[in-house]
């Protein structure tokens, strides 16, 4: 029973719609267009599979230490939900050649469905650390991110217990002159029980969901 009904919720996220957008800033006035694929892992009829969420977007290096970006979630769009995330990456520390970098990224996730016009806004903040081990090149990164639930109630007036839906992430970006390739593993919603719900999420314990994500960045 659960396998088919689970597919009703193939868009459900445990706050894991996409990989980290930007970890290191773009160069000043540099433009990038991006495409991302991936989502939380679920057991579907006994087979582990990632929820195939996709998004496309663009980024712009406003300053050397400030990158602006926006994305549209294309899988959601196919289901009649216009979902977007708009944010900025502020570089706290950037390595000159190689070394450690730090950044922070506030994001607004906004979505509205085309059926009833119901909208939701979820603020999000990412704290990123990365190690660039090649001069102006590849880097590994990790960090913590959290969505914030603004509604105090959920369906039928029940109290919304979950205020923060955090994720831990580890990833790697392969940097080429015109392209970046990103792979990321996330542990989404690790503070939230994944038991006794319709979706059979895959996780190390009884909370959250592991997710795997891929990203491609074309730089101009």
């Amino acid at each position: 029973m659960r396998y088919l009904v689970a597919s009703i919720l193939t868009l459900t996220i445990l706050a894991g719609c996409n990989p980290t957008r930007y970890v290191a800033p773009l160069e000043e006035k540099q433009v990038a267009v991006t495409a991302n694929l991936g989502g939380s892992l679920i057991n579907y009829g006994g087979t582990p599979m990632p929820i195939p969420l996709t998004s496309v977007g663009a980024g712009y290096g406003l300053k050397e230490n400030l990158t602006l970006f926006g994305n549209v979630h294309t899988t959601s769009l196919a289901f009649g939900v216009f979902q977007t995330d708009i944010g900025a990456l502020y570089s706290i520390k950037k390595p000159d050649t190689t070394g450690f970098g730090l950044s922070i990224s506030p994001v607004i996730n906004w979505m509205i469905d085309g059926w009833n016009g119901k909208g939701r806004i979820y603020p999000q903040v990412d704290f990123n650390g990365y190690y660039q081990y090649q001069t102006d090149g590849n880097f590994a990164y990790g960090g913590i991110s959290s969505w914030v639930e603004l509604n105090s109630t959920k369906a039928h007036g029940e109290t919304q217990q979950t205020i923060f839906l955090p994720s831990l992430f580890l990833g790697h970006t392969f940097v080429k002159p015109k392209m970046n390739y990103q792979i990321e593993l996330r542990y989404n919603g690790f503070n939230t029980s994944n038991e006794k719900i319709v979706v059979d999420y895959i996780s190390p314990g009884n909370t959250g969901a592991l997710g795997i994500y891929f990203g491609v960045y074309k730089k101009f």
Partner: protein, 294 residues
């Protein structure tokens, strides 16, 4: 600009993917109902002491009309069809899986409530299930159960001797047709492992207060419909229900019941499909019998 966004969204909505059909996990590959000879997966199997005499098993067809879309659906009545006008009858609305063979053991249990064949039991396959024609939707299952109630009414059954029992998805037509009567109205309602709503299902899975409409056009809003139901309610739910969480689904439905008489059976250790098994078949039937005669 605002107009353009609405037009864009409206355009998308016109051709959008929806996952509504996935709610119905029907199997329509069978050629006949096997009942006791069914060898497919079931939640539990009763021993021979629960066998129903052949003369009291009636498989027949009904015509269900959903907005002019008429389909032949299959029904099984357990009991003496000639005595429906004077018997007490339980309408059993099954869950979303397979067909009536899967639920036959459950229907037989109900036919043993208060003693062997004390009460008549009617069960149908919603359209698209088993041998029933068509395809199910939230609204069509209400039409299918309405057709069954009309049939019972035609046999002479009256409200005071009529009960409805909804298991899992079957809680939706039970609540809908009790809260918004179209013909027969049950005098008592029994819900086993009910849905609260599609919205609760979405929010449980996402951890966020997302609207159900992001994923499905169905509402299955038992938690709201039950507010209109004043008939006595018996609610059974496994504490380990791994599909419809007892806290977020069952407790909300129970809490929202609009009547003053209600009976909760929280079955320790039971999962979604094994409440009668974990309770023990005798305890289960005794419990329902005492609710009905109370």
């Amino acid at each position: 600009m605002k107009k353009l966004i609405y037009i864009f969204i409206a355009f998308l909505s016109a051709s959008c993917l929806r996952l509504d059909d996935n709610l119905f996990n029907a199997d329509n590959s069978i050629e006949s109902y096997q009942l006791d000879n069914y060898t497919g997966e079931v939640d539990f199997t009763l021993d021979d002491s629960y066998k129903i005499p052949e003369s009291l098993i009636h498989v027949f067809q009904l015509t269900s009309d959903y907005n002019g879309d008429q389909k032949n659906i299959y029904a099984i009545y357990i009991g003496d069809m000639a005595n429906i006008a004077t018997d007490t009858v339980i309408m059993y609305c099954h869950g979303n899986k397979d067909h009536m063979d899967f639920y036959w053991q459950r229907a037989k249990l109900l036919a043993h409530v208060g003693g062997k064949n004390r009460y008549g039991v009617l069960m149908i396959d919603y359209r698209g299930y088993g041998l029933s024609e068509g395809e199910s939707s939230e609204q069509s299952i209400y039409a299918d159960v309405h057709a069954a109630l009309k049939w019972l009414e035609k046999q002479g059954l009256t409200n005071e001797r009529f009960m409805m029992y909804g298991f899992s998805l079957g809680s939706a037509p039970t609540c809908q047709l009790t809260a918004n009567p179209t013909c027969l109205v049950p005098s008592k309602v029994i819900l086993e492992a009910p849905f609260a709503s599609a919205e609760v299902m979405v929010q449980d899975a996402s951890g966020l207060s997302l609207p159900a409409s992001y994923f499905t056009n169905y509402t299955i809003d038992n938690a709201e419909e039950i507010k209109k139901i004043s008939q006595p309610l018996m609610w059974l739910h496994g504490t380990n229900d791994n599909f419809l969480n007892i806290k977020t689904h069952g407790e909300v439905v129970y809490k929202n019941h609009g009547g003053t008489s209600k009976n909760a059976q929280r079955i320790s250790g039971a999962d979604h499909g094994d409440v009668p098994l974990v309770m023990g078949f005798t305890a289960y039937t005794d419990s329902i019998a005492s609710f009905i005669v109370k």
